[in-house]
Symmetry: C2
Subunit: 392 residues, 2 copies
């Protein structure tokens, strides 16, 4: 079977070495990786199979990770990872949604097979795919092991993208631009909201003639009219009416590397006050982006952004940025650095963020955002659509 | 703000009463509901916000559930639930992805406010959105409470759909038929796999002229050529070639009620052996469906299905069915009854399942499936596309 690998073997080796170095530093013998983006990062594994238990095991004294999935998904390990046969394991289907047996017992047996019953084992305690019961089952099955919280260990390493990853981030950005264009073309009074969403999805998945797209980690947001005040709304069947605010967030996703970007589209003629609000949002966003450079703390970027808002009497306590990279549901955000008031993380070249002016004030709202990568000197936008209020 | 509610208040009241009755039976004072489909079922809440902590609290002695989300998502509670203002709570943004504070401390404070510090509290230990750390933080913040595993308590109640829910399941089925049609029309040698996927997504989201669609809980699967052997693969940028097997799984989703359905599309002229394999798959599927009626155990349906395979020398250990209903990522399957060899759950009118013949044998595979509802007398198909191998 032909393998589909999107990076050189050397790239995976570098990633694994960085993870092992951090494990050594923390005294971990074994790292159990339940988060799909972390599994993808270290092995290449890619399939929509993470709704059943799956685990990548990194052992300090083993060359390759082991990838454990449901039996039928071992085929995806063989196609999408670089792993040798002995590192690809599948559990019988009787473990799936069983009330009698736990797939984590199967996983624990493989830890024992590695001679690591008494090991110090790192687990991703705060991960989306590591339930309270998963942890309880593992602890019970490995009574002599010591468990340590290693949540975000891999995420912090993923935060800085390699040149090869940045290639995909830029391609994702080009797809994002195509999606924005498609949304603007499609939105008209009378078009059903679901048909506008359908056009956005079509473009996200189709991508560009050069770079095919794929599914995103979240959903297209179409926050329209009254629902514009609910930031994570989707859409209805209703036709668009004139004089309506459409806050939309769309994505470009290339080989699981994803950018998010928002714009506000005003159908009709906006009021002078509304245009003024949008201008403030754009000025704040640009001030934030202008302040981006290696060595700057996230809090300093927030301060540059917020200074513009404060000068206009607007207070915003929400974070204004999160990291972008490998996206699997439910989110692309890596749960590490946020751009916000108190965040001390220092920017480095290769990090990618989504900076968001999302203002929801009384009955008015505007969302104009920018995904970007940090370069040696400053900030490289990953999409190229102008940062303006779109009026149609 | 106008509320968007898809069911009568009486329907929500019936659901809540059923959950409270089960809580009483188990001696639970409080139920903490972290699973998005269960939150939607009990309150109507619908937004793509569950990547940050959110919780519905049902207290035996309180009329309404309380819905807790991130502060900015309280707007979605006000729009999509029937809850009064006092039952809608939001936590400050400083809790989001914080390494210093936990949103579960905020949630625990609301439990204390209910006078329930010493309560018996049910939690969904095996849920997708209840991490090992979420549980640890709650236990720490409520040292006098007793925690019980109440995973699937709501899911088992959801298993039987009401007449009003079945209306949406049927509409979802009609959308599914439209998507299958669109895939067949679009697939041609030379078309990129991503463009075929894009067409499927477009139809899923657009729906039909009568019933707009929405996002599904999973992804479109296009398991093509060699990747046909990997059941949970997606797609590539490659153009389709002639003489290719396309196993596709698509969805119809209506107001979060979702059906899944698969077909195999053969581009070109299949071999006699392959057609024979497809015929066996269809005969097994039909035998399984014919055996469906209230009072029958899941294991008996499996036996009827498997008898056809066994007669043809084929052994299948995987489950052949899972429940359908409210879909949120990562899956619509409710983690309750599976149609498989040892499952004793007895079928009742109103339950909905996806029955799957997925055969992956050596280098051949075929996937022809049927979503259905159980009626008073037997089985009502939710999609109406004929169960055949599609050759184009």
């Amino acid at each position: 079977m032909e393998r589909i690998l999107h990076f050189e073997r050397a790239e995976y080796a570098t990633r694994l070495a960085a993870v092992k170095a951090e494990m050594s530093k923390r005294g971990l013998d074994i790292l159990l990786i339940s988060e799909p983006p972390n599994q993808n990062y270290l092995t290449g594994y890619d399939a929509y199979s993470f709704y059943t238990p799956q685990m990548a095991i990194v052992a300090l004294d083993r060359d390759e990770p082991i990838m454990i999935t449901r039996g039928m998904d071992a085929a995806s390990s063989r196609i999408t990872t670089y792993l040798s046969d002995d590192s690809i394991r599948g559990f019988p289907d009787s473990y799936v949604n069983s009330t009698e047996r736990s797939a984590y017992e199967f996983i624990a047996k493989i830890v024992q097979e590695l001679g690591s019953e008494k090991a110090v084992i790192g687990v991703e305690m705060g991960g989306y795919y590591y339930s309270a019961r998963a942890h309880a089952d593992l602890v019970k099955a490995l009574p002599q092991a010591r468990f340590e919280d290693a949540d975000l260990l891999v995420n912090w390493i993923r935060l800085v993208k390699s040149p090869a990853e940045l290639v995909f981030m830029r391609q994702a950005g080009l797809i994002g631009d195509a999606v924005i264009k498609r949304v603007i073309e499609t939105a008209e009074p009378g078009v059903r909201e679901c048909d506008l969403a359908a056009a956005a999805y079509h473009q996200e998945i189709s991508g560009t003639p050069e770079f095919g797209g794929t599914y995103n980690s979240s959903v297209v947001h179409l926050c329209i009219g009254e629902r514009a005040l609910a930031p994570h709304s989707t859409w209805t069947d209703k036709p668009l009416s004139n004089n309506t605010v459409i806050n939309f967030e769309i994505h470009g996703t290339r080989r699981r590397y994803q950018i998010n970007v928002s714009r506000t589209l005003y159908l009709g003629k906006p009021s002078i006050d509304y245009v003024k609000l949008a201008d403030i949002a754009i000025e704040a966003l640009n001030a934030g982006l202008d302040s981006v450079r290696p060595g700057q703390a996230c809090s300093e970027v927030f301060a540059a952004f917020h200074k513009v808002l404060a000068r206009n009497g607007i207070e915003k306590d929400q974070r204004i940025g999160y990291p972008l990279g490998i996206g699997y549901p439910p989110t692309v955000a890596e749960r590490t650095a946020s751009i916000r008031r108190e965040e001390k993380t220092v920017l480095q070249p290769g990090m990618c963020f989504h900076m968001m002016t999302g203002l929801w004030l009384g009955d008015q709202s505007v969302t104009i955002t920018q995904p970007f990568a940090i370069t040696e000197k400053g900030c490289e936008p990953l999409t190229h659509t102008p940062r303006t209020l779109i009026v149609k």
